[in-house]
Amino acid sequence: MTFLPKPKLHHPDLQKNALGYTRRDYEGPVSTLCAGCGHDSISAAIVRACFELDIAPHRVAKLSGIGCSSKTPTYFLGASHGFNSVHGRMPSVATGANIANRELIYLGVSGDGDSASIGLGQFAHAMRRGVNMVYIVENNGVYGLTKGQFSATADKGAKSKRGVVNTDEPIDLVGLALQLGATFVARSFSGDKAQLVPLIEAALKHQGAAFIDCISPCVAFNNHEGSTKSFDFVREHNEAVNALDLMLPREEITADYAPGTVELVTQHDGSVLRLRKLHTDYDVHDRVAALTYMQERHAAGEIVTGLLYVDPEPRDLHAALKTCATPLNALDDAALIPGSAALDKLNASLR
């Protein structure tokens, strides 16, 4: 935590992206979270991903609920749209915004309290409806703002900072997302940007419901021995199924790996996910196998990370509802208010 704004001076060789922005242009005001918070690393990863994808900041809407994690959208993409909703209600707001204007990139940031407790129903429906958005849960297993009680994602048997053992089963958000039809599901770790940044980039490019469960140690209340969400525990038990590189259509794709170790997945927008397989028999297209594998490894005490499931041809909410392609704010009055004759016609069609 610092009171000092990050100095404007930057490295003389700081690169610019295709839009002429530097990475620093994607930052926000300085974070007020605890020093060393995993959430700040995730913010930095989002900044990097948006910079590398040449995303125009004003084309992004960042949405969040309540909690430490939900404070973070203030600290990145200072020039983007933002909405800080009621506790747990970010998915509804994101859904509504997306219905009204499908041209923006929707980035929901939530926490384990916001999404697995008060907002669990909201989370579930955003996934099953296939809202085209990136949904990141910054998962630390505790309520940091209220001083470290277990959250709903805390593992059974995990110890709190005060020595209390958790007796409840954890809610597995990855498992829920898989069951409920999310078309891009991943898990990562705030302490591993090499893995996290490409996952966020791929999720931003995914044209459907993309969910990332990101374990993010709470340095103040959940980084001790006995915790299953501490830096040390996650590093020791991290089992990555693959390593991802996102290749944009403009890049030349080179496959210089031994056969069978690399899989190329072309997404709907032309971007290519290059997956270097770390577990050769893991299939990212098999939802059922993924669920089984997650549960097996969790029972063995491992934390599976990487891109867990992807459907390269996702169907999103708009396709299901057959909505108008033009954002509502770009329609003229005649289209938005068709008048009583149109209403009569509609009513007649329903009789």
Partner: protein, 596 residues
């Protein structure tokens, strides 16, 4: 790479680029903080201890610190270090009581010093308080050497010289002024324990081209002419003046001419404008006084009418570079250029001259340059009792180098007189203190000012040109000085990393405004430099490498553009990063001069 040994004083000393670049290793950020705090006398004494002549250097120093300043690598211009030094001198008040007292008792050793310039006076400053009986000889009637004779008064007022030379003469040396040394042999025969030669580079180079002899009345050697102006022997010059040469002496000559009746004064140099030896700011000051600088013109002939000079011809040349990048000036073939003039000042270089040193007393001169052989560390000549320093040692440099030589020679003379090994040099002192006061409070001002470099106010031009003694630069006032001081990045407040405390949370990496911290696998330096968050291409700057961390990686920090803002330490949840002030105090003879 091996973990960095931060116990080696040189490691963090190098990070303080200004201090490392200063020949006298003045702790620059330390005194700049004092200026910001309004503690001018403290700032003055920090300077005085290192560079002996803060008021003089604050106006005339060649400023090797400024091109080195880290600020110049993260924005347009370095901190105005030199002019801040002057602020300390201008506002210090009475520092007399803080000065060291003359030695309580003599130690029985007698030292002769030839020349009363900055090198000799530094030796006296360092040795007199230790009890050495110092005898200073100089041909001029007043002490100061080239500081007094060659630097025009509109750049350096006489009072400043009197004051700072006075602090040294008050230490009780025997000043034999007006007494030129004609024979080193005779001097040695007087039984001194050691002799220090600080006689400068007193001979101005001449330009033997046609017409030189015939028109001699109106052709002057730059440094001799400046000296005559300084002592009031010359008070005017012709209306049209040509100054030959591109160094700082040429700049002093042309600006002095403007004040002595020269209306049409121009500087003509052989080289290109950019390659001129003069400091950029001195060129700017000359141009600001309506003095054009014409380049790529090689003097060919002095034109005269029966001995009455009326102009000069020059051959037009251009620069060509050979395969090895060496420059050659080749004629362009254009017709020679002619410029009218009434007087010419020749400022094309200075040379050493040692006609007074006998060549048979065991003091070896090299054959090529006819310069004494002097050890670069000890400043001892091949005659064990004779030491050199300043311009006399290795040819013309500048005041701050003369001071640095003086300090080193004083250490040698002290060790020599005490029968100790000259090769063993005393190590620097190092004072380390954490700056942490609270979670986000530091005992230094860690906010980084975004202000651009402030300009020193100048006297109005017409006023300045009227009086050769009117100082042109007026100096920063306290408000400007504060604002400029805040531009200093406090590079002496070091980022110190303790590897066994680090939990590798990346907080420091994310907050660093200049991307200088990376956690990665270890490797050879050349290869490691290429895969840091920002590639470390400035090879003159070190990479700070930690021991192996829990994940098997290392922390590698490129020192190059670190702002020393302390945000890494503020963001560190475990205190693995700390901001620690490293005050590096380069050793001086006896260490008796410190009276802070």
């Amino acid at each position: 790479m091996q973990p960095t040994d931060i116990g080696n004083p040189d490691y963090f000393h190098k990070v303080v680029d200004c201090q490392w670049a200063c020949p006298a290793h003045t702790p620059v950020p330390e005194y700049i903080r004092m200026i910001a705090a309004g503690h001018y006398a403290d700032a003055y004494m920090v300077n005085w201890k290192s560079n002996v002549f803060p008021g003089i250097l604050g106006r005339t120093c060649d400023r090797p610190c400024e091109p080195a300043c880290r600020r110049g690598r993260v924005e347009e211009e370095p901190v105005a270090i030199c002019r801040l030094k002057r602020v300390a001198a201008d506002y210090k008040g009475d520092v007399g009581p803080r000065m060291p007292a003359p030695a309580a008792a003599p130690n029985g050793k007698r030292i002769a010093l030839v020349g009363a310039g900055p090198a000799s006076m530094t030796v006296v400053r360092d040795l007199a308080p230790l009890g050495y009986h110092c005898v200073v000889f100089d041909g001029d009637a007043r002490a100061g050497g080239m500081i007094r004779s060659q630097i025009p008064k509109f750049r350096l007022p006489e009072e400043v010289i009197d004051e700072e030379v006075g602090y040294i003469t008050r230490l009780g040396p025997e000043m034999r002024l007006g007494q030129r040394v004609d024979s080193l042999k005779a001097l040695l025969d007087e039984g001194y324990d050691a002799v220090f030669v600080g006689s400068g580079a007193p001979r101005g180079r001449d330009l033997p081209i046609p017409g030189r002899q015939e028109a001699a009345t109106n052709i002057h050697i730059g440094i001799d002419w400046l000296s005559s102006v300084s002592f009031g022997h010359i008070t005017k010059i012709g209306r049209r003046v040509i100054v030959l040469g591109g160094g700082n002496t040429a700049m002093d000559c042309c600006r002095s001419s403007r004040r002595l009746g020269g209306e049409d004064v121009k500087v003509i140099v052989r080289s290109g404008f950019e390659e001129m030896k003069a400091s950029p700011w001195e060129k700017e000051d000359a141009i600001a006084e309506d003095i054009p600088i014409l380049n790529y013109l090689v003097p060919k002939e002095f034109k005269h009418d029966n001995g009455r000079l009326y102009g000069m011809t020059f051959e037009k040349v251009k620069a060509e570079y050979d395969a090895r990048g060496r420059r050659q000036l080749v004629p362009t073939g254009e017709p020679d250029q002619f410029f009218e003039c009434d007087d010419v000042l020749v400022a094309v270089g200075q040379e050493n001259a040692f006609p007074w040193i006998e060549r048979d007393i065991g003091l070896t001169f090299d054959d090529r340059w006819d310069m004494p052989e002097v050890d670069e560390v000890t400043f001892q000549s091949t005659h064990p009792k004779v030491f050199f320093g300043g311009d006399a040692a290795f040819g013309p440099k500048n005041i701050i180098w003369a001071v640095a030589h003086g300090h080193a020679a004083a250490i040698s003379i002290d060790r020599f007189c005490q029968g100790e090994d000259l090769r063993e040099r005393p190590p620097p002192g190092m004072l380390v203190s954490s700056q942490k006061m609270g979670i986000h409070e530091w005992s230094y001002d860690n906010a980084v000012s975004l202000d651009l470099r402030y300009k020193v106010p100048h006297r109005e031009k017409l006023q300045a040109l009227k009086d050769i003694k009117a100082e042109v630069e007026l100096g920063f006032d306290p408000e400007l000085a504060y604002a400029e001081a805040q531009r200093c990045l406090n590079c002496d407040v070091q980022t110190v990393f303790t590897d066994n405390l680090c939990i590798e949370c990346d907080a420091c990496v994310d907050i660093c405004p200049v991307d200088c911290i990376t956690f990665t696998r270890n490797g050879e330096e050349a290869e490691l430099r290429t895969r840091l968050n920002a590639p470390a291409q400035n090879l003159t700057q070190e990479i700070y490498v930690s021991g192996t961390l829990k994940t098997g990686r290392i922390m590698a920090k490129d020192e190059d553009v670190c702002l020393h803002c302390g945000l890494c330490a503020e963001r560190c949840p475990t205190g693995a990063w700390d901001m620690q002030r490293y005050l590096i105090d380069v050793a001086q003879a006896g260490a008796a001069c410190c009276s802070k």
